[in-house]
């Protein structure tokens, strides 16, 4: 069969991967600075870090960025190494479901902090 390529895609994924990396880097620096200046990090202080709504939102975006970054990375690996398309699609979907589950779980964890 004639070679089919030229999906006019890939740029969006590439951009999301770069943007998520930048967000994670910035978040980690800010978060570490906050954590280190918050005094002794006992259980109460650690909980206190996550009490403000802003931190919950920023933390959730971090988890979303991490999962998006990881999924796109896995997609690249699958495109490179898994050439049987049914298996590749199954892997895409399996990890998408798994990561979506992780995201919802992260919501539950973050918003459980009062």
């Amino acid at each position: 069969m004639r070679q089919v390529a030229g999906a006019r895609r890939g740029l969006d994924m590439w951009l999301v991967q770069r943007a998520s990396a930048v967000y994670m880097a910035v978040f980690l620096i800010v978060f570490l600075a906050l954590a280190l200046t918050a005094g002794p990090l006992d259980y109460a202080a650690w909980r206190g870090l996550f009490a403000p709504l802003a931190m919950k939102v920023a933390g959730l975006i971090f988890v979303a960025a991490l999962l998006a970054h990881a999924w796109i990375g896995l997609r690249e690996i699958f495109i490179d190494y898994v050439h049987f398309l049914v298996a590749r699609l199954a892997l895409y979907l399996a990890f998408a479901a798994l990561y979506l589950g992780c995201l919802i779980w992260a919501v539950d964890i973050l918003w459980s902090v009062q």
Partner: protein
């Protein structure tokens, strides 16, 4: 000096093998190609390899020496660990011994339309270009299509039929960067693909091996930047 050279003749029906040669040669000032020619002249006339200009201009003697893709004619024998292992460029089909089938490589090269597309009436003499526009092409036009970069790229190894590879992408960008070219959009359309362009993960094997010191990764980065610019 001891050499260990890849031998394969598909027509013979025998499996590929490595053959050792002991060559009496003073390595001082000599290149790998000198040794290959000496082996063919004095030890084994059946050894097959490509070569032409013997000074790093034609790009026909790309081989893998001790695990690195090089041009045999400009790689010094001195300092190479013995036995010096010489293999054909990775991932391309072997026609015989060190001669590889470049058809796939050239197909990708042709796919990027490596020529100026300009629909304006042809000028009397030449299409003029400002010196600073011309300077944009430095580091792009020098490619000799030896294939060292593309065959050192794992993304090409895994998807040789779909990923264009660093050499073709560098040439693609050479015409995208050319102010005289009028098909930039069509060129970008063609490249915007999960395979053709976005298999590149920027590991820079291509930069490391390029015998002309070019930087395909940077050219690929510039293509991506243009795609972003166009999309936003």
């Amino acid at each position: 000096m001891r050499f260990r050279i890849y031998r394969y003749d598909p027509e013979s029906g025998n499996a590929p093998r490595m053959q050792d040669y002991d060559l009496a040669m003073d390595p001082a000032g000599k290149k790998v190609l000198d040794a290959l020619i000496a082996i063919k002249d004095t030890l084994d006339e059946s050894l097959a390899f490509r070569r032409s200009c013997r000074e790093g201009v034609c790009g026909s003697d790309g081989v893998n020496v001790n695990g690195t893709n090089v041009l045999a004619c400009i790689t010094a024998l001195e300092g190479l660990k013995e036995p010096i292992e010489i293999r054909p460029l990775p991932r391309l089909g072997v026609i015989r011994d060190l001669i590889v089938d470049m058809a796939q490589f050239y197909q990708h090269y042709r796919a990027v339309k490596p020529y100026l597309i300009n629909l304006d009436p042809e000028p009397e003499n030449e299409r003029l270009q400002a010196p600073e526009d011309r300077a944009e092409l430095d580091g792009l036009w020098e490619c000799i299509l030896c294939g060292c970069c593309t065959t050192s790229c794992p993304s090409f190894w895994w998807n040789p039929d779909k990923f264009l590879g660093p050499a073709a992408l560098l040439q693609g960008y050479r015409f995208i960067a050319d102010t005289r070219d009028q098909a930039t959009n069509e060129r970008l359309d063609f490249l915007e693909d999960p395979y053709r362009l976005f298999r590149c993960h920027g590991i820079m094997n291509c930069v490391e091996v390029c015998p002309k010191g070019l930087n395909p990764t940077q050219a690929i980065g510039k293509i991506k930047s243009l795609l972003v610019k166009r999309a936003l």
